[in-house]
Symmetry: C2
Subunit: 226 residues, 2 copies
């Protein structure tokens, strides 16, 4: 795999991300010092469970799916990360071993930040430590949210919840475009693609229109009650 230096656009994406936004320029520069970029085709594997990993990753373009493998080869998605999100930071605290697999969805550009460096910097800059804690917390929260939704909600309810998550608070009517294929959404929600399809059918009766990747919500309240 060819590794490149960051170009200015890469840098802009990184600095605009949740992780970097509160950091001083000095801290950011120190982290990005030595960062590299790789390009990936659809389905490329970025790292695999139990293998050594010495970077923290950031999606510069495209999408990354993080998942675990079952003994039978089935896959369970843990998270899907869009442009601007850091991931793979867990390995840093667990002996530099990945606890999951990561795969590019569509062709993607990925930045790699040296985790040893990041760790050292976290000792030096309290801001970086703080940013790392917030990152870990967000990711923990994401997993807990998923777990709770899986256990409390049916498939159509999970889909409704996902849709509502994209819907600004005030509005009763709203529409948006899915940021990825339904395939991927199904995985993220822990559903078979067929189940997602059926869930959309069920929601259609509650004022949700689905055409391709476009979702229209005609009655927010109805969805919330679902």
């Amino acid at each position: 795999m060819k590794t490149l230096r960051l170009n200015s656009n890469d840098k802009a994406v990184l600095l605009g991300s949740r992780f970097f936004e509160k950091l001083s320029a000095a801290a950011s520069d120190a982290i990005l010092e030595g960062a590299v970029v790789t390009n990936h085709e659809e389905h490329d594997i970025l790292f695999q469970q139990d293998e050594p990993v010495d970077s923290v990753f950031c999606v510069l373009s495209g999408l990354v799916r993080v998942y675990r493998l079952g003994k039978d080869g089935r896959e369970a998605d843990i998270a899907v990360f869009p442009k601007g999100e850091l991931f793979g930071e867990n390995a840093m605290f667990l002996g530099n071993r990945a606890t999951a697999n990561a795969q590019a969805i569509g062709s993607s550009t990925i930045a790699r930040l040296d985790s040893r460096n990041l760790r050292k910097l976290a000792e030096q800059y309290p801001d970086i430590a703080q940013a790392l804690m917030e990152l870990l917390c967000r990711h923990g929260q994401m997993a807990e949210d998923c777990l709770a939704e899986d256990r409390l909600l049916t498939a159509p309810q999970r889909v409704a919840s996902y849709i509502l998550g994209h819907c600004p608070d005030g509005s009763t009517t709203f529409s948006f475009r899915l940021p990825f294929q339904k395939n991927v959404l199904a995985g993220k929600l822990g559903l078979a693609p067929e189940a997602l399809s059926r869930a959309f059918s069920a929601l259609r009766r509650s004022g949700v229109t689905v055409k391709g990747r476009m979702i229209e919500i005609h009655d927010r309240q109805a969805l919330e009650r679902f």
Copy 2:
């Protein structure tokens, strides 16, 4: 609720916990400065979703269940914490609001560490920041593990996995006592109590004996294959 100072036993439990073990005495003292202890009966609520929380908690004795509530009142366990475990640290990074509920299982003693103080100390002592990151990472990992197991394993497989988690690596035969009622285990595994019961029945045919809270494994390999 009556709040007490830490007694020497309380301190011993805290200092022996995963979180404190790598900290210097100075750091530990600084954190425990101003810590208080509360006693709770079974089912007491320690904090509730969306309510302000300004402490990080530690179980000194007993057990604590962290869970979310569904719209219909159903509950989904996120985690169960035994003696010596810190919890509730997420609120610290999310505007001091709890994102879940916490409840004592059986009568329990709980330490409360001021989160504002802890946060300040994390800036000052890199060790503390490091310990916090490891805590967050562990808890995130726990949630991801649960999520993956929920999605990849059937009820008997999840129970087998739980049992294997208590079984030292080398042994083929092993026995241990459940650290809590089956009720609680069911919740932790995301199962109805009946499903847990049936899972134990299924495992009995693979060399697992269950009598009260005692679990005996007669053939580790058989369990792993399950």
